[in-house]
């Protein structure tokens, strides 16, 4: 009986499968992790070591010199400031707009509200890439080239986040809302002290998503800034590579870590919420 034969050999084949599984997992982690490892190692190597063969897997004379060198090669203090301003204000704008829009869509009466909702969602179909030339002209006309508002305002409107929050708001129990109304709470009070605390996980998820995307944004800040002192971190690291790459990889890798490390720390702390936010909507439940 074939089934019986298979049963008897199961423990051994199961063990083999387990081992194969662990090997495959280690290989996958190595492939994803090695480039990051390589970056970190290079950041601690002396320039001489980076450009000598055979290449070393561990710095023979570990040095911190690349970090101050990178900080001096480009105004990283200023890049940090710019990135923090753009990320914080940009994400705050998105969250605020999403909160009010979602509240309106979930609870307030308006004729043909479904059409308004559609108008908002349809914006998801227009990729930012195709708007760059007209938006550059608009921002230029406003006199906003090379300003924080020029970087922040064109990307402040939010459709996906509004959609996420609306879903969360709709699941707030009806009785709680009725109770708030009986207590004489207006819409602002209801939003801030009833709906927001209940929908807090969704709001945090949405905010984190917003922060990550603003922190990493590249195309628009690249176009709309034209002096060193207005660049954000990704653009700063890009220019650092253009000026120092090839001849000074250690400094460039140290500069890259200036941007990567805060993201990694944030990701470690809020991994669940970030992954959830990025994958929400793909699979139900």
């Amino acid at each position: 009986m074939p089934v019986a034969v298979r049963r008897r050999s199961l423990p051994i084949s199961l063990l083999a499968w387990r081992i194969a599984g662990y090997v495959a997992m280690i290989v996958a982690v190595l492939i994803i992790g090695l480039p990051v490892y390589w970056t970190v190692m290079a950041a601690f190597k002396e320039t001489r070591e980076i450009y000598s063969l055979p290449v070393t897997w561990w710095p023979t004379n570990p040095t911190l010199a690349n970090f101050p060198a990178a900080w001096k090669a480009a105004p990283f203090g200023r890049y940090y400031l710019n990135s923090f301003i753009v990320t914080f204000l940009g994400a705050a704008a998105e969250v605020t707009l999403a909160l009010f829009s979602a509240y309106a869509l979930a609870y307030l009466r308006f004729p043909r509200k479904d059409l308004v909702f559609l108008l908002l969602l349809a914006a998801l179909m227009v990729p930012v890439e195709i708007t760059i030339v007209p938006n550059y002209l608009t921002v230029a006309r406003l006199g906003w080239i090379n300003t924080y508002q020029g970087i922040i305002v064109p990307g402040a409107a939010i459709a996906y986040g509004t959609f996420l929050l609306r879903q969360a708001f709709l699941s707030v129990p009806r009785e709680i809302l009725e109770a708030a109304k009986v207590d004489g709470a207006g819409h602002l009070r209801t939003l801030f002290s009833v709906v927001m605390p209940i929908a807090q996980p969704a709001i945090v998820t949405m905010a984190l998503l917003s922060v990550v995307s603003k922190w990493n944004e590249f195309l628009w800040p690249l176009i709309v800034t034209n002096t060193t002192d207005m660049r954000t971190l990704p653009i700063g690291v890009f220019w650092l590579r253009n000026s120092e790459g090839l001849s000074n990889w250690g400094v460039v890798m140290a500069g890259s870590l200036f941007l990567i490390v805060p993201v990694l720390i944030g990701f470690l702390l809020a991994q669940r919420a970030i992954v959830e936010g990025m994958t929400a909507g793909a699979v139900k439940g």
Binding site: V3, G21, Y22, A28, V29, I32, W38, A42, Y51, L53, V55, L97, S101, A104, L105, Y107, L108, R109, F110, P111, F117, L120, M125, V126, P127, E129, I130, V133, P134, N135, L137, T138, P154, A157, I158, A159, L170, K181, V212, W215, F218, L219, I223, P234, F238, R241, G245, V252, M253, S256, L259, F267, Q271, I274, V275, M278, T279, A282, V283, K284
Partner: protein
């Protein structure tokens, strides 16, 4: 659309309150819609206008040239080459992401120790800036001192000049793109795997189906909606890929990695040809619109019958 409204009664006395609520609705959602109007919908229309004028961003006049920009873009073999390259980039990136992602998801769905750590590591590149990922990889691809050259050295091979060779530049971009985005596919697949009912596997086992049969007849069909969703979203993000290409290869060498989005950027902000940039923006929009409609159809079906 199922929307919850706290009050349903339509009493004449409440109409005043209702109007106040309309006003509040407009105030709440107005700023968001206004911003979309100015920075999303208006650019869409403005691109149509730009596509029919000749303009270099400087001249005070924008002479109307009708369809001339369209003719000169479409009759340029370079444009068709770029379309071809966008398709190559997309098909390879999406194909590799979906297949490797599926294998990794199946692996990480097994009861292995540390699998949550492995998931976190694999997802990490997704949250790192594409520009910086490309900066890091430009060192990794260094044909003399880079990581890839080291690894190839173990098996006695020499690294090609990845970024300086018209043949290898596109594979390099695809490798980086897949490396950065694979984690997203893995997480989506894993969620899809979790959604396949256990009973289906049990029933298959009772029917005497082996591991391979269960994979073919339960797992794969169960994952197909997720795979469809992933392929459409991945195609859409591939069409938008900019930062990695700009930083890693700048579209070169000799146009070898120029895709539609990069071409649009180049026309607008390197050669300052607003008219042709408008044409490319419209082409890009129409392609992506078609893809989004396909995707929405799918979401609709999921919500209705899923």
């Amino acid at each position: 659309m199922a929307t919850y409204t706290p009050r349903q009664e339509h009493h004449p006395k409440t109409s005043r309150r209702e109007h106040r609520e309309w006003l509040l609705f407009a105030l709440f959602i107005g700023p968001n819609l206004l911003l979309f109007g100015v920075f999303t919908y208006w650019p869409l229309l403005y691109n149509v206008y730009l596509s029919m004028v000749r303009w270099d961003f400087l001249r005070p006049t924008m002479p109307f040239v009708g369809l001339q920009n369209y003719i000169s873009v479409f009759s340029d073999p370079r444009f068709w080459n770029i379309i071809w390259q966008t398709a190559t980039f997309t098909i390879w990136s999406v194909g590799l992401t979906l297949t490797i992602g599926l294998l990794l998801a199946l692996l990480l769905n097994q009861p292995l120790r540390f699998r949550n750590t492995a998931r976190a590591v694999i997802f990490t590149p997704v949250v790192i800036s594409g520009a910086v990922v490309a900066v890091v990889w430009s060192y990794i691809f260094d044909p003399r001192y880079g990581l890839i050259d080291q690894l190839l050295g173990f098996i006695g091979l020499d690294s090609p000049n990845w970024l300086g060779d018209a043949f290898w530049a596109m594979p390099a971009v695809i490798i980086v793109y897949v490396w950065k985005n694979i984690g997203y596919a893995v997480v989506i697949y894993l969620a899809g795997l979790q959604n396949i009912p256990r009973e289906l596997y049990d029933a298959a086992r009772v029917d005497g189906a082996g591991a391979w049969d269960r994979f073919w007849h339960v797992t794969l069909p169960g994952l197909s909606p997720v795979a469809f969703f992933l392929s459409v979203t991945s195609i859409l993000t591939c069409f938008q890929a900019f930062d990695i290409i700009r930083v890693l290869t700048n579209g070169g060498p000799a146009d070898a990695t120029t895709t539609l989005v990069f071409h649009l950027y180049e026309l607008g902000f390197v050669s300052y040809d607003a008219g042709k940039a408008g044409v490319v923006a419209i082409v890009l929009f129409l392609i992506m619109l078609a893809l989004t409609i396909v995707q929405l159809r799918y979401v609709e079906r999921q919500v209705t019958y899923g």
